[in-house]
Amino acid sequence: MILRIALRNLLRNRRRTLYTISAVAFGLLCLIVFQALKVGLHEQMVRSTVGLDAGALQIHAKGHEANIASLLPLPEPQVVEEFLGKTSVTAYARRIKSPALLIANAKSTAVLLSGVERVREPSVTFISENMVAGDYLAPGGLLIGENLANSLGVGLGDDVALMVEGWTGAPFIRKFPVKGIYRTALATFDLGHVFMPLPQAQEFLRADGVVTELVAASEAGGELSAANEVREKLNGDDRYSIRYWGEIAPDVKQLIDLNDSTMALLIIIVYLIVAVGIVNTMSMAVYERFHEIGIQLAVGDTPRSIFLMILTESALLGLIASILGSLMGWLACLYLGKYGVDLTSLTSSNQYFAQSHILKSHLILSDLGWANLLTVTTATLAGIFPALKAVRMEVVEALNHG
């Protein structure tokens, strides 16, 4: 009976109920879409960071500083690889990195030279998927970014000179033909990174057999736990330094944390607005029904039952709005998840969009569940104030109302 009365009471002033439900549903729709876009953005940021160069985690020799290229050799890389095979790491590859100077057509630019494994590296990073000309890591040649090639005025088959400080500390310079050109969505990366096969780089740097970095991939979202697993496996061996992407690119991690905090604030604001809206609606509805509530009390109903009836009305408002908002939010996310939002004009030099400039939403079911739970809970709690007001009235006072 309480449910029946509550539902029919909501239908008494259909316009007011519709406005309230629409406002709450719209708030929920916005939250769902913002949250899904935020998740999509964060996934893109992590994918870009991990897939461009950092990988899920990197292992270096102790003393190696993050993001500083040095020829500090990784001790016994084959032993580390054996350990990696026993963790949740899905792929790994060896690297050697060195700062270099690239010279062509009387122009020069500082670059980071990476010697990488032709077969294993594509399992960790996505440069191989972004070839625009030539081959990925063709033997004897150099793989450079399209922007770099354009700015130096070179193309496939043209020679460029590369100068490095070798393993022994002596400088070395050699000409390499450009055998491959890649293009990521991040222009600044393409300008500053050149690649060649690992053995070729080791030979050029006079560092035969030297590996300075092991980079590994893991399941999305499992990077930190994979890094912790590796740390556990290498427990006690202080010759190694293990960092997951959040430590290699703390700016990305911090930005994600900041976004999460901002979103939390937005959620609080939206739910406050939802609560105020429902308190207002229910207060009006209760105020108009003081006389009826007096009748109910006089007839013998208990204050507890009246309290529950008003709370049920609030909860029903929240529930209907929740279903409506979720449905609209889900449809919006379905569209945004498929087609996304093209942010090319805003993100061409943004490192977080190195894979694509299309921001797509990703609606996580648990987020949807939480949003619904919060909406219904907020709506129900918002009914407490008007409900208390109703049940605290004396019967005679209520009967005399209206």
Partner: protein
């Protein structure tokens, strides 16, 4: 003739406000109502009729004195206990806007029994019987807005009598009804009193209603000025 004291007002008075703003709605009043009485509380507007009914029906508490219902002092009861006693003993018919507009006639009647914890089958049977006895057979599923004023009052009567409480209090039950409908309603209440042995206290300043009553208590400026038993 009375069968036993149902209600006693022992110097019960009710005032509102304080100091210069104090309004004495009912002055110190002594009154005994016995089971099975059919009483009309008469008097002009503002004479204290509704206040007397509110005190008698445990809707309100006296500012001084005592109201004893079946020997229990209403002032000594907690709010919950008073509500519980009211639920057990009293049915109400108010002057107007008596019904819950979102419930049908049958649901309004059943509601008064639902809050008393009666089962669905018993509620349904009693509601049907009460609505039939007030002549609303066939209109059970109408909402109040679909009923005339007289029909709404009859639903309210059905709601008051259906739970079988020993006392029914009706505040100006015929005030919004035409004379024919009003007379029919009073006949119905009297018939119920005769048949069920219920006690009725109703307020009115309508001579027709006073004519129907077995006992007429007349109030003026918050005091009982006349108490006639026919």
């Amino acid at each position: 003739m009375g069968k036993g004291a149902l209600l006693n007002l022992d110097g019960a008075a009710r005032f509102y406000g304080e100091g210069e703003n104090r309004v004495d709605a009912l002055l110190s009043t002594d009154l005994t109502v016995e089971e099975g009485e059919f009483i009309c509380v008469a008097g002009p507007s503002g004479s204290g009729k509704t206040t007397l009914l509110n005190l008698s029906g445990l809707l309100d508490l006296p500012s001084s004195g005592r109201v004893l219902v079946l020997g229990r002092d209403s002032g000594a009861l907690s709010k919950g206990a008073r509500a519980s006693l009211r639920r057990e003993l009293v049915g109400f018919v108010f002057q107007a806007h008596n019904l819950l507009p979102v419930l049908t006639a049958r649901e309004n009647v059943e509601y008064s029994m639902l809050v008393r914890g009666l089962g669905a089958k018993e509620r349904s049977e009693r509601a049907q019987s009460a609505l039939t006895s007030v002549g609303l057979l066939g209109k059970e599923d109408k909402f109040p807005r679909e009923l005339s004023g007289g029909e709404q009052q009859r639903v309210a009567v059905a709601r008051a009598i259906a739970p079988g409480t020993p006392l029914v209090i009706a505040d100006e039950p015929t005030a919004n009804l035409d004379s024919v409908t009003g007379k029919a309603l009073m006949s119905l209440l009297y018939e119920l009193k005769e048949r069920e042995g219920m006690t009725f206290i109703f307020s009115s300043h309508d001579p027709m209603v006073m004519e129907c009553a077995e006992r007429v208590i007349t109030l003026h400026d918050g005091s009982i000025v006349k108490d006639n038993t026919k």
